[in-house]
Symmetry: C2
Subunit: 322 residues, 2 copies
């Protein structure tokens, strides 16, 4: 059977994800119709991944399916929203059934972990481009915003930083330090290609957080967005930056540079008022306090000897157009 | 000032549309947060337009901005939903401020007519691709679906059909019959490039409709979707197909072919039970009854002499991949 545009979403994607009770009209009509609980608002985010810009054209389609959805789930986590539904606008150069099948299964596996249902989509012919919009539910007034950081809030991050950046640097710049083994590269590549969105941690930290963002452009750039939106500055203790055992094998300055400035980690960065720190720490989450919010609008980095270096907080991370 | 990705949405789009009270968190955070009234569900649809596939690369960016949003508004109209919010994922090859400004203004003009607010977006570098997701509000249970057509329902369409198709054929096939004047072409091109989504008519017909769809792939193909989803057939009276004064100048067979099979009209096709016809007709809307739903699953076309020709309803309209 020849595949047609009309059957494409149906064949590969319509039953890819679990069905939710709150989907009133599913894929196959002019619109999907979705029911929002009366006590919640809807959080939405749309992201586009373009071949050759956001991923290598030869990337494994299964991991690409994972990552395309993970990016959106990470935005929901940063907002404190519970995943509910997503849509997929897929532009592909040709109908490659094997590729589509792998892409759909990578996406569906992650979707099922978070009970998020694919409810609509569009497939068109053209250069490979993936736009996904995620929709989550957040109790009214409980969303985590960027602009609520307060002076003396403690700054936390989840997981470890810089791993995806290391994998990217190897691929782009043929950087391959002898300290890192095959096993390290396998770990680092997985961090780049299959990031784990911090949806579960988001749920747990929500009661304690003043401001939050996900780390897609490097913690300095993304913390910078919190600081700009909140009109604050920050003090960061380099020795507290969480590094994976792979990155710990590197020269410290190199590891910190990767951790601070490279993107694609999809960890969370959030601020917590001092009075909530104890309650938060007793949860034993995979989080690390790395500094605190300050009144003066700059980022001060302190090394392990307490020596400061000052960065202008207008530093912006990766920009496709610069 | 150099334009950067971070400022792009802010500069050209953030204030392009009117602000709504139900937008809790606007552009500029990880997610937008939106409030849905307790008596309503949310209808969503995502569509992608690719340069060279859905529009000519040299198209006026102002009309492209209009059309990109009109396509989504037409889906909301077909669902009986009132426009509320939209997101824009824009992939552009370079930062052309003049182009972006015209695109944004074309989009904003139509948005303001329908009180729909831009609440999020993503801009990336790559081949020109526009994905827009629209969100509308529909009273719980009141959505218009494709699969509710009943036998002996009257079939209606809005406006006139085939105009966009005529303009497209001229451009693609250098088809230029002598009957049509400069003024005709100006009208037909406007129908192609700046379709008017039938949001207002949708609101008025809603109480009377069993099934509805918008006509993006030609009325035969789109009515075909209603028939397939509803398990019905249809009888269509060719003499009743609404034709613009421009298309009335053409040979009838040619005009009907354009009206039945060409896409991009963005009119509505809907079915109405006989008992509601009188109430509907007294509204004096720009709609035309063109036939009726039948039990047998095929489309029968009747010409002005009552001569039938039978089409298989699996005819599917335009498909990028075939």
């Amino acid at each position: 059977m020849a595949l047609t545009e009309f059957s494409l979403i149906q064949q590969f994607f319509a039953d890819a994800t679990q069905k939710r009770q709150d989907v009133i009209v599913d894929i196959g009509d002019d619109c999907a119709v979705l029911s929002c609980p009366a006590d919640s608002d809807i959080a939405i985010s749309i992201d586009t991944l373009v071949s050759g810009i956001h991923f290598f054209p030869d990337v494994d389609p299964h991991t690409l399916g994972h990552k395309s959805l993970a990016v959106g789930l990470s935005d929901l986590a940063a907002m404190g929203a519970t995943p509910a539904w997503f849509t997929l606008a897929l532009t592909i150069p040709s109908l490659d059934e094997k590729w589509l099948s792998a892409f759909a299964s990578g996406m569906a596996e992650l979707a099922d972990q978070h009970n998020i249902q694919l409810v609509g989509g569009d497939t068109t012919k053209g250069p490979l481009t993936i736009s996904i919009q995620v929709h989550g539910l957040v109790k009214k007034g409980a969303q985590l915003q960027r602009n609520h950081a307060k002076s003396s809030d403690k700054i936390y991050v989840t997981g470890t930083l810089g791993d995806a950046g290391a994998a990217l640097q190897k691929r782009l710049a043929s950087w391959q330090p002898e300290e890192l083994s095959e096993k390290d590269w396998s770990f680092l590549n997985k961090r780049l290609e299959q990031p784990i969105p911090q949806v579960n941690i988001s749920r747990e930290i929500q009661p304690f957080v003043n401001a939050a963002i996900d780390i897609s452009d490097g913690v300095l750039a993304d913390l910078g967005h919190i600081l700009e939106a909140s009109g604050k500055g920050a003090r960061i203790y380099l020795g507290k930056i969480p590094l994976s055992s792979s990155l710990q094998k590197l020269d410290k300055a190199k590891a910190w540079q990767l951790a601070l400035n490279s993107g694609d980690d999809y960890e969370l960065c959030f601020t917590v008022p001092a009075e909530h720190v104890q309650a938060l720490e007793t949860l034993n989450l995979d989080i690390q306090q790395i500094g605190e919010i300050t009144e003066e609008q700059k980022i001060v980095l302190l090394d392990e000897q307490g020596q400061p270096s000052v960065l202008d907080i207008t530093s912006k991370g990766y920009d496709h157009f610069v």
